[in-house]
């Protein structure tokens, strides 16, 4: 049910966002990931002032849900276009039954089933997961010290990036304890979402060769299952703690930024920059690291684009897309230094 709500909801939301930004909502995966980024960006916009103004969690749940339902209905209104796109997808579905895609699917299934039957005890959950638990339990957003629940607290480091409230929201809707939502249900959402982004990247890199797209995806999955260094490095987060904001940042959002860069190579429409801006804002929700690393990634890549194509607008537009991150970044530094 959670998967249905998330992927169904983001699919229709993505169509609405694509329509507004005048970017073609091609296929099934693209509107889903655009929708997910938009959900998180919207959440950051609503949650930040509500947290600062001591808004209640239930108030947030109602407001966020109402806005999302509105967007969802907006998506349904464009059903003709969606049906047309789905027809194209279903006609071409067989093309995706390649050896590489089958291997990728089996590896993803293995990862999901393994994680479903095993647990990884994350020391930081006592803060982050309890932050979500406390929101549902006390109806306060962030102002209770989550590890004890016994006193008022305002830790400046995390106030701008309250990702646990996202799964607290899902928990409230489905009547499940956030601990169960995070540890048991959320991996089934985040892991497929991450590989959807890699699937899209493969689609852009090998537009005409479906078999190579599948092989690219299978290898991307494999590299999440085999690691180097310590077990708490970037890609391993997708297996060990897919419910932690940092993990989602490293394995969904940064690859998504890369995907935007790939799209930018081909077409530089205004809508593409807006979608990049939404992704950047979504990154702010995930982790304070998202506030910092997103402008670094976009800025660095756009700097190279600008130098190579001798057009400064790549850098200026990229930085404009990251403006919310930059503003929050300055505020974060003010809060923490």
């Amino acid at each position: 049910m959670v998967m249905g709500l998330f992927f169904g909801g983001t699919f229709f939301s993505g169509h609405v966002v694509c329509k507004i930004t005048k970017v073609r909502a091609e296929g099934v995966l693209f509107p889903i990931v655009v929708g997910a980024m938009s959900w998180w960006a919207l959440m950051e916009i609503l949650l930040l002032p509500m947290t600062m103004l001591h808004g209640t969690f239930e108030g947030f749940v109602v407001l966020y849900s109402v806005v999302l339902v509105g967007i969802f209905i907006g998506g349904l209104l464009g059903w003709k276009g969606i049906a047309r796109e789905l027809k194209i997808v279903s006609r071409r579905a067989k093309e995706y039954l390649t050896f590489g895609h089958v291997v990728a699917f089996l590896l993803i299934l293995y990862q999901l089933v393994y994680l479903h039957h095993h647990m990884y005890l994350e020391w930081d959950d006592t803060y982050y997961v309890n932050l979500a638990n406390e929101a549902v339990n006390s109806n306060r957003i962030y102002w209770v010290y989550p590890e004890t629940g016994a006193f008022a607290d305002f830790d400046k480091r995390y106030v701008l990036s309250l990702w646990p409230i996202f799964y607290a929201w899902l928990s409230k809707i489905f009547g499940v304890l956030p601990t169960i939502m995070a540890h048991t249900i959320l991996p089934w959402v985040i892991i497929p979402l991450s590989y959807m982004v890699y699937g899209l990247i493969g689609g852009k890199l090998f537009a005409r060769d479906k078999e190579l797209q599948g092989m690219f995806l299978a290898m991307a999955v494999l590299l999440h299952l085999f690691m180097s260094g310590e077990h708490t490095a970037g890609l391993t987060f997708l297996s060990i703690t897919p419910w932690v904001g940092k993990g989602v940042l490293a394995t969904v959002l940064i690859p998504m930024l890369f995907y935007h860069m790939l799209r930018m190579i081909k077409r530089e429409k205004k809508g593409e920059w807006i979608l990049l801006g939404l992704t950047a804002l979504g990154g702010c929700l995930l982790s304070s690291m998202g506030i910092m690393l997103t402008p670094v990634f976009v800025g660095g890549t756009m700097l190279l684009f600008s130098v190579y194509r001798k057009k400064v607008r790549y850098l200026t537009h990229g930085m404009l897309a990251c403006l919310p991150c930059l503003m929050l970044g300055v505020y974060y530094l003010y809060l923490t230094h």
Binding site: F99, V103, L115, H117, H118, M119, Y120, L121, D125, T126, N130, N133, N137, Y145, E147, T148, G149, A150, F151, A152, T179, I180, H183, Y198, G202, E211, L212, M215, F216, M219, A220, L222, L225, F226, M227, S228, G229, E230, H231, A233, G234, T236, S239, I240, I254, P255, F258, M261, L262, I265, M289, M292, L293, V296, F297, G300, L304, F305, Y308, L333
Partner: protein, 265 residues
């Protein structure tokens, strides 16, 4: 400057040691540089990873980012190097020129090489079988099933990180921030005296009980291997329940269903 290189080197080793993924990344970048004809793709898949490697190792940018991100998490800058894009892309370039069967055989072989270049993540080293839907240690669930809701408790450090994940209506006397009290030998602060007393293998109830009562700890949960100096009832507590690993004690004044949660502004 020396500190910067020391931190950068340690963090880099923590991210890439014990496997062949980083050398594989460098080979992949070189391969893409030689074989890719599309200059923009070359820029994205060779230029961008090299740029962030430079940013990571260059003392000028590195020191700046250490200040911005924090020294402890400087290594996260390495997340910007997308291993799971660059390496598969290089391998796919290699596969591109092969015919159907050759391609599939080469793909399987190269998947094997990639797997051998790293260490498996999904292993018993990091994971254990889950026995409950919370995905928490079973001994925590057993204690939570015995404890009533809406109470204030002082629990063993073994339970402390997990108990509120199982039942968030319970408030705790100590969180992880109290671990800094470990190692303190002399103190006059009651909060620290209480914490240090419950860490002992033989707990003096004359010290523990009055302080626990004063802090409003209705329930006390300790490892069952603890021994006590004194009689619980003489100090206003009694044994409430027990599991294989833990003993639960309750304040004699506690009434069933009472809300004893603690709250400090």
């Amino acid at each position: 400057m020396q500190d910067f290189f020391e931190i950068a080197r340690t963090d880099f080793a923590a991210a890439f040691a014990g496997a062949w993924l980083f050398p594989l990344l460098l080979v992949s970048i070189l391969w893409i540089f030689l074989k890719e004809k599309d200059k923009m793709k070359k820029l994205l898949l060779c230029g961008v990873p090299l740029l962030f490697l430079f940013v990571y190792w260059c003392p000028f940018t590195g020191i700046l980012f250490m200040k911005l991100l924090g020294q402890n998490v400087y290594w996260r800058l390495l997340w910007l190097i997308l291993l799971a894009v660059v390496i598969p892309y290089a391998v796919c370039i290699l596969l591109k020129g092969l015919s159907d069967i050759q391609r599939q055989v080469a793909f399987v072989v190269l998947m094997g090489v990639l797997a051998l270049a790293g260490k498996p993540v999904l292993s018993k080293e990091w994971f254990e079988p889950s026995t409950n839907v919370y995905k928490l240690p079973q001994n925590v669930i057993e204690v939570c099933e015995l404890l009533p809701s809406n109470i204030h408790a002082l629990v063993s450090n073994r339970l402390m990180p997990y108990i509120r994940q199982c039942d968030p209506t319970i408030t705790l006397e100590y969180g992880r921030n109290s671990l800094v009290y470990n190692g303190i030998t002399e103190t006059e602060k009651e909060e620290q005296i209480l914490y240090l007393e419950v860490q002992k293998s033989e707990i003096d109830l004359a010290v523990l009980a009055p302080l626990a009562k004063k802090q409003g700890c209705t329930f006390l949960v300790f490892s069952s291997n603890r021994t006590y100096i004194g009689n619980w009832k003489d100090y206003g507590y009694k044994e409430y329940a027990s599991t294989d690993e833990f003993c639960i004690f309750v304040d004699l004044d506690y009434k069933e269903g009472q809300d004893t949660r603690k709250w400090e502004e």
